[in-house]
Each structure stands twice: as C-alpha cells, then as structure tokens.
Symmetry: C2
Subunit: 378 residues, 2 copies
C-alpha cells in the first residue's frame, strides 16, 4: 500500500478516468477504461454536430476525421503526419495491409509469427489463398526468411504471453532478405515508445480500444508510410478512398495519400469518442508510461510468482508489454472468482490468466489488491 | 400549408426526432436526423455499460449485438431472424457479398447496374479482378444476362435519379439464367416494404445512416439467407466470424450461421446508437411510411416541376424512392443558397439537386417551404 502515491509521476492521471474505486481493473489490454471527457464529447457529437448541423457536419470536420485522428495516433507510434488513417477494424486493416504488401510480388510466401493473435493468422491465410502464396507460421526467434519471403506479419506484443518482440532487430532481418514487414501494434500502442518511421517499417495496424481507451470496438488504424503510398494497392476500393469521392466517378482512382486506405463512410460517433479519449496522451510522456508499466508489472510479478500452482509465462526483463500472464490449471475458475471479488482480468483458454496494467489509471495498490485476492483464492 | 396536419397519420412521429423547426431538412437520404432517444442511449452505453461494467459488458449484450440489431433490420426487409448481421461499412459488406457470390463459380461475368452508386462499381471491379471474372455495367432495363453471368449487383433505388427498380421482376430475371443477385438497399431500407425472403434474394447489403437514422457512418448490414449460409465463403475471415471465437484456434472455422459474415470487433457505441434509432420503427407501419413518402414527393414534384430551368429526373408513378431529383445548370449554386435559407438538400455533380423526404419526420409544409424557397431563387 502506498507505494504508488510516493513514486508514481502519473498518479494524477487516473483522475481523468471514469473508474470505480472498488474495482481493480486489470483488463485494459482488452478494453481500456473510459476517460471522463468521452461522455460529454459523444453528447456534443450526437446533439450538436449531428442534431443541429446535420449533413453540414460532414464538411465541418467529420470528413477529415480519419486522417486527423490518425495523425494523433501517429504521434504515439513515431509516424510523421499524413501516414496513419483511422478506419474499419484491425482485421479489415490487416487484409488491406497484407493485400497491398503482396501486390505484384513474385515471391512465394507470407510468414506470420506462430503465436499470433488468431485474426492475423486467419486473414493472412485468406490473403495467401487469394494471391497464390503460401503461409508459413514461424517462431519469431527463428523466422528462417529467404528471398522467397514476400511479407512477414508480426505481433509486437504476444497477446497470450505478453512477450515484446524487438521491432528494430526483426524489421532489419526482414529487410535484409528484401521482404516487407507488417507490425500488429494492438497490444503495444500506448504502452511504450514506437518508432515506425525511424525503423522504416513497411506497414502497421493496431486497435484503439485497448491501451488507447477508444471504447468498445472503436475503429482501428493503419500506417502507410509516405513513400509506400503510391504503391499501396488493395481491393477494398470503397468510395471514401477515392481521389475525388464526391465526383462520383465510375472509375476508381485512389487518393494519392494515406486516404487511399479508407473504404466506406467513417463511423463518426465512435471515431470522435476515440478522438476525445486520445486527449489524455497530450498530457503524458510515453517514456513515463513505459517506466510505470514495467514497474507495475514487475511489482505484481514479485507478489504472485511464488503462489502455489502459478507459473508466470510473461518474460522477465524489458522484452514484455504491460501484462502479466499466469498459467494455472484452474485458470477459468480462478478468474471467475477474482471477478466476483471485483478484480477484473481475463482468461485465455485453456489455462492462462491475463492481468493487464494500464499505467494511465492502474496503481501499485491495484497490483497489491489483485495479488492478495489471488493468493487468498489459492 | 396545413395539408400535412390533416392527412398525415405519421405526423406525431416527428416529435420523436431532435430537429429544429426552422430547418427544412431534406437530406435524410444522405444522413437521417437523430431520434431523440439516441443521446440518452449513448450516454447509458458510455457511462454505465462501458464505465461501470467494463469488459463484462461483452457478455451482457455487446457480443450478440450485431445479430440482435440485425434481426431488427430484418423485420424491415422481410428477413426472418438469423439472416441479417450489422457490421462494417456497406463497401466492406459488398466485398464480402460479391466474393461469396462468385466463390467457386465457373461463370465468367459480374454484372452491375450502369448507374450504380460508385462504391458498388469499384468493389465489383476489385472482386472481378481478384476472381478472374469480367465486370459488365448494364442498363437495368436490358441486363442481357446469360448462363455466363455469375452474379448481378443492383441498386434498389438509384442514388441520383431516385428511380426504384422492380426487385421481384429483376430477381426472377437473374434467377432465370441461374445467376445470383445482390441487392444494395441503401436508399430503400426504411422507405418501403421489402421482401427479401419471399423473393428468394441471394444476398443484400445496406447502410443504416440514411432512412434508418442510425447516425453518421453507423455500421451497415448484410443479409445472408439461411440456406446460403453454409456456402457463404469470403476472405475477410476475422476472428469474430469464427465458430468459437474465444477458443483462439489457429485455424479458421466459420460460424455456421450469419455470424460468419462478421469480421472484427464490432463498434459498440455506434451499433447501440443505431439500436436506439431503430425503436421508432416499432411504432410505424412501412405501408404508411411508403404512402406518405409517395405523397410528400408527389406534392413537392407538383410544386417545382414547372419552375424555370428545372427538369425533374425522378420517375413519376410508383417506381421511385423517397427523393425528388432536379436537374438545373446552376445546381451547385442553387443548393448553396437553399442551405443558406435553411432548406437542406444536396447537390450531386454536375447538375443534380436532390431532395430526400423522410416520412418519419418530414412534413407537407417542408415540401412547400422548400418549393417556395427554390421558386424565389429561380
């Protein structure tokens, strides 16, 4: 107790979130908690922008929102403006990214990390089938790339174990064989500094409802670096990706910039809820977020690693995201009983308990309360 | 004046909408006006469901929302439960529908109506290229189908002219050559009775932000009839379309039902705003809506068709949706000046003025005020 208040430079940020104090919420890696300003912003969007301005709002900020909000996310992932667009779901953006990455290739295979979040593997399989390539799952420690590799899809943080991959080293490995890399940032954006531009990453996708707190199912993002935009071709050629969408031309000419990755009409209420949620990032430094996340997860790990029957599967040291994953044969039952005690993490079958630590609102006391509850149950 | 109050069985429904009385809003065919209950519902979703229940809300109604809200739309399009899912944008759903329609076909062509809304044509082009078929735009009055036709994509109501196609007759024509039909209902859902099941329509898509008033960019819907579900295969194989999404299996096994058309995590705030917006349909009969829509548009047509320089391009008689489209060489300027006078329609280049009439909230007085303003400008 009390460790947090004395050592936590982000302690005051929790007040920006609408969270009950009796809940220990350790599932922000699945659904982030609501920043307090979101509710009012959504009211403004529904009641004033939609209700009073009606169709006129499309030319008063709505149309450009996918790029404008995208640029805000760009700041969190090391992307200069004009390279990130907010649109669709992560799965749909993965499809765009992979289809674009293999467009026109004469190479034979797509590689995906073997422990990938399922949707990445499913979409990669579809893209391989559509494009006549093979799909090869591979261990990130031994990707076995060659000059037949067209593209490598990697999860920056493993959703089960919390392992963090070395983006710099792996991007270099992929480039060394002349292949492209697509990074899935779902579990790392908002957790730690990312440098997409500096590392010459080819494409990246991520969701916004975990550590970015955009709300349930808030729209995802896609990074297409400036130099890759002219060659970014994918089959979801919806009208909002057109160079002149309101010309209503019968032929599709993609926008010259990142907007070519747009497809249908953007979902404005959710997009602007996300926009509000991002305000908190203007007030924090990602280095502080990272430092607190490592401290929180280390503290929790220390408290639980010797509990009976518990195996910590999250790597120690710096190569981890902001979650601690524990293996226990009764994981499902344990998590149900923890939730009954207002300690909310989640269970991933068959036997993994996940505890996500969001440095913007989780406290060292949260770690202690969760560890105590788990200890009592064991 | 006054024609409305005496003859309009839906007059009281306008009170359910949050609309300013000094605005004549005739663009509900582009963005429907907000039902009053949406604002409170969105607050409930953000503040209670997200804020208090956090991740638990996924198992308290969120997860099934795409099918539950889909069933509500199903009632408006003549689809029995379990055949409509709300997800993604219309463009993305068109891609799924067309890819599924050509899956495994040995036929050579996709046909699209020549006046299609652009995104339909763009997506159909992509699907043709991916699947090795040709794309042929055709006049709906002379589709020239043959046993080489795999699928025909038709817009139920033409977005420019407001012409309504005969779904029964055209579906029969398509089926007569053994092809499949995909109907785009964007401009007809909520305007008139539709009977997808009774007509054995193969697939249908539509948006929810026009006459269904779901809000800007609210998620679209996709109809996959029960008997077509086992054969519905499309490449956006996202995790939420999986038979057991939380098993996190490395292999994709589609859900046996309409949920196989789901892709990524559903956008809950917008989905539940739409859900609230649909409540109004529980209180009206689509036959009344259709009757009022025809009367409103006929009244407006009568008032404007003899104005100088105006050519009405919306068909007379019953084969039209709920808009009146006028051609005038100065259409862009005219619409700008109408909007200045609080008469809000829209302009489609180069020379079309569109006035949409939403029977749930538009009045005969709206038609008269709009016609008067247009007459003064001319």
């Amino acid at each position: 107790m009390g460790t947090g208040a004395r050592t936590d430079p982000l302690a005051h940020i929790r007040d920006l979130f609408d969270l009950d104090d009796d809940v220990v919420y350790l599932d922000g890696n699945s659904l982030g908690a609501p920043p307090k300003n979101v509710a009012a912003r959504v009211q403004e969007v529904v009641s004033r922008q939609w209700g009073r301005r009606l169709i006129r709002s499309w030319s008063e900020g709505w149309w450009e929102a996918p790029q404008r909000v995208g640029d805000r996310i760009g700041k969190l992932v090391g992307a200069a403006p004009g390279q990130v667009v907010v649109a669709d779901s992560t799965s749909v953006n993965l499809f765009k990214a992979l289809m674009a990455a293999v467009h026109g290739t004469d190479r034979a295979e797509i590689v995906v990390d073997a422990g990938t979040f399922p949707t990445d593997g499913y979409i990669a399989r579809s893209v391989a089938e559509l494009s006549g390539l093979t799909l090869r799952p591979a261990d990130p420690d031994d990707l076995a790339l060659s000059d037949t590799t067209a593209v490598v899809l990697l999860n920056h943080v493993d959703y089960r174990t919390g392992r963090l991959l070395d983006m710099a080293k792996l991007t270099e490995q992929v480039h060394a064989v002349g292949a492209k890399v697509v990074w899935d940032l779902c579990h790392s954006v908002g957790v730690l500094p990312i440098e997409l531009d500096a590392l010459n990453v080819n494409l990246a996708v991520g969701c916004t409802y975990k550590f970015l707190n955009g709300g349930p199912g808030s729209p995802a993002f896609l990074y297409v670096p400036t130099e890759a935009q002219p060659g970014f071709h994918q089959p979801l050629t919806g009208w909002t990706g057109h160079r002149s969408p309101f010309a209503m031309s019968p032929d599709y000419t993609p926008d010259p910039g990142v907007s070519r990755a747009r497809v249908g009409t953007p979902d404005i209420i959710s997009m602007l809820a996300l926009d509000a949620a991002l305000d908190v990032w203007d007030r924090v430094d990602l280095e502080d977020v990272r430092a607190k996340g490592l401290a929180l997860t280390a503290h929790f790990r220390d408290l639980v690693e010797d509990l009976p029957g518990i195996e910590v599967i999250t790597p120690d040291g710096e190569w981890r995201g902001h979650q601690v994953s524990l293996r226990h044969p009764d994981a499902a039952t344990l998590m149900r009983r923890l939730v009954e005690r207002q300690v909310i993490g989640d269970h991933r079958p068959p036997d993994v308990l996940r505890f996500g630590f969001a440095p913007l609102y989780n406290t060292f006391e949260d770690a202690e309360r969760a560890a105590t509850a788990l200890g009592e149950l064991l």
